[in-house]
């Protein structure tokens, strides 16, 4: 389902090269729930961007459902994302000029689905935001924006769900109900779940936890093992 082979990723800035991922390998099976943990700045978001084709590594290969991303052009990668992937970004990336409802309906509108508003309403209700449908992102709390981003990532029932710190702005109770939703949807649609998280409670509910350290992934026995 998701395969990374010998991935090396560097960022170049004026006079400096930062090697974030070094010869990294990773394999996620269909329907697996994997948590990715590691210190701030270790490269978790970078890893997610590579897995979803939004960044490209200097060397190595990424396969999503058998498709090698490095041999696809920008439009083909965008197509793959639209059909098969849902992404919750660490900084949400909501569209400021669209309401919560319009933001959530967007993946369905782009795909030409007829009942996009009804399905957006249903997903917003599942994240507890029925009463905030008409609000624009600037009229929502931090955790409400996060939940709109989550609803948008799930509304088109993607086969792979990537979430970058999906409970970072949520109190414990709301965070737990969001995890319930993610795991329920995974059961309903057989999705694969890849969750970057700082929350041990989230990692503990996954099948496997990978720790990112010094640019490489290590299996861990338990999320809080040090």
């Amino acid at each position: 389902m998701i395969e990374l082979n010998n991935i090396t990723m560097r960022y170049s800035m004026a006079g400096t090269v930062i090697t974030v991922l070094r010869d990294l390998n990773c394999s996620v099976a269909a329907q697996e729930r994997v948590a990715i943990v590691g210190p701030s700045g270790s490269g978790k978001t970078t890893l997610l961007l590579l897995m979803t084709g939004l960044e490209q590594a200097q060397s190595g290969s990424v396969r999503i459902n058998g498709n090698a991303l490095e041999s696809m052009d920008r439009d083909q990668r965008a197509d793959l994302r639209r059909k098969e992937i849902g992404i919750v970004f660490q900084s949400f990336h909501l569209i400021p000029s669209l309401s919560a409802r319009e933001n959530v309906a967007l993946p369905l509108d782009i795909g030409g689905t007829a009942d996009s508003s009804a399905r957006a309403d249903e997903m917003l209700s599942r994240v507890g935001l029925s009463e905030r449908r008409a609000h624009y992102p600037a009229q929502l709390s931090g955790g409400e924006q996060q939940r709109v981003a989550i609803a948008r990532a799930l509304v088109h029932r993607p086969g792979i769900i990537f979430a970058d710190e999906p409970t970072g702005n949520l109190d414990e109770a709301t965070g737990q109900s969001i995890m319930e939703l993610l795991f329920d949807l995974k059961k309903e649609s057989g999705a694969t779940l890849l969750l970057v998280t700082h929350d041990p409670a989230v990692a503990m509910r996954c099948d496997r936890t990978l720790r990112l350290q010094e640019g490489r992934l290590h299996d861990t026995a338990a999320p809080s093992s040090e």
Copy 2:
């Protein structure tokens, strides 16, 4: 130090009025460490914006160090903030066109301090970001942006530190070192600390925890008491 009396805050949108805070009262003594907890969407950020004069309530009064904010104009409130307050925003609000170092130096530059770069470097080192000084916000991880926002809020040694979910994007270890820094600085400069947080570990380290529920603040015995 911080006094709120009979604060009622509403947001008006097309055809709807949302009452977020109802007749709310709150008093924080000098050098106290107070945590504010409550569900996503309950009004914590709104409360912080009112306490810092960045929003104005429909009724009630806010006093900071004896100054009634509602009888000050915009410039006077901006002056008060610059001299006496440090704010860590939930969405950071870093300036995209300035490097990490320039962002952190900004409160000192505005205040006309001579050694602003040296002091910015010192604070960046205390949040573990010496090697990221030249990066622009877009070249930083989520937790690194959060730490730059924290450094910027502390660099001018304000008498009151407001922080809106300062550990939301940080792993446990980095989050703990940031809390150490906040509490050390509070000891060094006698600052008052007001922390909005979803993290029980943060609340437990404070002198008092207030829970925001149905628009009002309630004292709690312990952060996780339900």
